[in-house]
């Protein structure tokens, strides 16, 4: 993978640069040598299952946890040595958006605005408008729904016009509509030149939102690369739904670019398969699908649907650790 050379070329320009980050808690290594860069204006995904060290790493990025080794540079400043300079450029929500329930939304924003010079009342109004909270901003936060707290958390994170926004599992607890809004919001911020660092344990989330991704498991970064090279290329199961299944299986098995997969040979989530129980599960060489469809049609088989499906996160890890994708 070309990420190593890319990193050294780009590291001057990186908004966030993590080098050899390690953490030992009570004699146990939780994080081993984590390194990656986040570039200006990109949406960077941080993908890993629960307990993989995502949150610990994020906490080290924002000075909540002191690393045992390695360093974190934000905007050219070392977070551990110059937190005042480094964190000026960062907005973050670590885990849940925590705000003071006994204050109103506005008072919360005012509170955090006071912690940094140069944020006036007009800027508070601006971020309130950005997250669309004008209606309820003067109500006490304890009356807010989780979605509204999330918005308030984001408003707080945006107050200081950060260059980097860190969101830890931002879709947790949101309904589908909220998730869609969040996705659009993230795109909008990135289009304005902000870098975003988004952690998630959901492959699909990262796929939909991010440009590049670091995949972490067991406290190690398994790979860093663009979403298309890391996930999409490893993600191409193809499900076929046809009217004459047996003929289709016979035809497909004769093709070189197709590999048929039986039960237990694939890593597709059960939830996907229960919806289409009679699907033929295959992997297909890149770019071969249109030709295969033509062959099926020519063979008198009606194609109802062809579907690309992602593997589970576990399987992706397996593929990344098996092959040469280990960074």
């Amino acid at each position: 993978m070309a990420t190593d050379t890319q990193r050294s070329n780009r590291s001057d320009a990186a908004v966030l640069s993590v080098e050899g980050l390690r953490k030992r808690i009570k004699g146990k290594w939780i994080i081993h040598e984590v390194s990656f860069d986040v570039r200006p204006g990109e949406i960077f995904g941080f993908l890993g299952p629960n307990g993989s060290g995502k949150t610990t790493t994020i906490r080290m990025l924002v000075d909540l946890i002191k690393p045992t080794g390695g360093k974190v540079m934000i905007g050219g400043y070392n977070v551990q040595k110059q937190p005042e300079q480094a964190l000026r450029h960062v907005g973050c929500i670590v885990e849940n958006p925590e705000v003071y329930p006994y204050l109103s939304g506005w008072e919360n924003l005012d509170h955090f605005a006071r912690m940094q010079p140069g944020i006036g009342q007009d800027r508070i109004q601006e971020v309130v408008d950005i997250v669309g909270m004008d209606q309820r901003i003067h109500d006490k936060v304890k009356t807010y729904s989780l979605g509204m707290r999330q918005r308030l958390g984001i408003a707080q994170a945006l107050l200081a016009r950060p260059k980097l926004l860190i969101l830890d599992e931002p879709t947790n607890g949101l309904d589908p509509k909220g998730i869609k809004e969040l996705r659009e919001f993230v795109r909008m911020l990135a289009s304005q030149g902000m870098s975003l660092f988004i952690s998630s344990h959901l492959l699909s989330e990262i796929q939909l939102m991010c440009d590049r991704v670091a995949i972490i498991n067991g406290g190690r970064v398994l790979a860093v690369g663009t979403v298309s090279e890391l996930i999409d290329e490893n993600a191409s199961y193809v499900l076929w739904q046809v009217d004459r299944r047996e003929q289709a299986v016979a035809l497909l098995s004769g093709l070189q670019e197709v590999t048929l997969l039986g039960q237990g040979e694939h890593g597709i989530e059960d939830a996907v398969l229960t919806a289409i129980p009679d699907a033929i599960i295959t992997t297909v060489a890149p770019g071969a699908i249109p030709g295969i469809v033509q062959k099926l049609v020519a063979g008198g088989i009606g194609v109802e649907a062809v579907q690309k499906v992602s593997p589970t996160l576990e399987e992706l890890f397996l593929k990344l650790t098996e092959g040469e994708g280990i960074v």
């Binding site: 909540l64 300079q85 964190l87 925590e98 705000v99 008072e107 940094q116």
Partner: protein, 328 residues
């Protein structure tokens, strides 16, 4: 310093909005009338028995002296009575009523009794969730990821805490005076009080005794009570840094303070107990010349012990807070 002020404003605002201080005022407004009533009943009772405060004082001295001859009373208690006899005699000889019923005397008495337990309790209401409250609500993650050094955050919290402690002492004085004045009258500011008794074992050295007007006495008392309260506040802050949950933090502090009160009543024979902070909280009793909980303790000693405890609490609080990992 300029960027510390908005932080202090934040912390002061948060304590205010949490309505903790209102709780304190509410407790004071409930309890003071109860004590006032009790005091009033006592005064009425005495008025029935004695026409003159002098005869009451003579009776009191006689009671103490009777107790001194009894074999059933332990030696430590006798010592206390011996000292009281000498003090009361001094008051009698100088023709000053030590407990003239008025709002100022009541306030003096209340402060003297409140300083070991009641005021520390009120301080805990504010100080115990200073840090642990931010931890349990998770807001500490927001607070510590802003571009502000951690020691500044803690310092701003400390300043806000001391501000509210001062306010608590002032409110106690004002409420005491205002409420008890309704029953006892608002006079008595200029009545003399004797201070400067020096206690040597069972003997009271009256050579340093001088009369001060009541207002000055109450001012000195409030200053000492404030000092005790601030030390309790510093310790509460330290526990709040070390312990994750607010409940645990309150219980820890309560236990040590109550233990101190119990110890000072029974540990006269255990000499090294005098280095425990909560045994030293009653600074105000040195002012009125009451015998110390443990022989050999003086005002200077107690202030010193408390100062050392406060300093250690500060060092631990700042040392731990600026370095600790926020894991949850």
């Amino acid at each position: 310093m300029s960027n510390l002020l908005p932080l202090i404003q934040n912390e002061t605002l948060k304590i205010w909005k949490k309505k903790r201080f209102f709780v304190i005022l509410f407790i004071l407004a409930i309890l003071i009338p109860i004590f006032t009533y009790a005091q009033m009943r006592m005064a009425e009772n005495n008025k029935d028995k004695f026409t003159d405060w002098r005869s009451q004082l003579i009776q009191q001295i006689a009671d103490y002296q009777n107790a001194l001859t009894s074999d059933r009373i332990p030696e430590e208690w006798k010592q206390y009575r011996r000292i009281m006899v000498q003090q009361l005699t001094y008051y009698l000889e100088n023709d000053v009523d030590p407990s003239a019923p008025n709002a100022v005397t009541f306030t003096r008495g209340f402060m003297n009794n409140a300083v070991t337990l009641f005021i520390p309790l009120l301080v805990l209401a504010i100080g115990s969730d200073l840090i642990s409250g931010e931890r349990s609500s998770g807001t500490i993650k927001m607070l510590l990821t802003r571009p502000v050094r951690r020691w500044k955050i803690l310092l701003s919290k400390l300043v806000a805490l001391i501000f509210y402690i001062s306010l608590t002492i002032i409110s106690t004085l004002i409420l005491c005076y205002a409420i008890s004045g309704v029953f006892f009258g608002y006079g008595g500011w200029k009545l003399p009080v004797f201070t400067g008794f020096i206690i040597n074992g069972a003997e009271v050295d009256t050579s340093g005794v001088h009369a001060v007007p009541h207002w000055l006495y109450i001012l000195m008392q409030a200053g000492l009570a404030w000092f005790s309260a601030v030390i309790v506040g510093l310790l509460a802050m330290m526990v709040s840094v070390l312990v994750r949950s607010t409940a645990a933090s309150i219980v820890t502090m309560m236990a040590t303070i109550i233990a101190g009160t119990i110890l000072s009543n029974m540990a006269a024979a255990w000499d090294s107990a005098k280095y425990i902070f909560s045994v030293n909280l009653q600074l105000t009793s040195y002012l009125e010349g009451a015998p110390p909980p443990i022989e050999g303790m003086t005002m200077l000693f107690s202030v010193g012990v408390l100062a050392v405890w406060g300093l250690i609490a500060l060092i631990i609080s700042f040392g731990v807070f600026t370095k600790q990992d926020i894991l949850n």
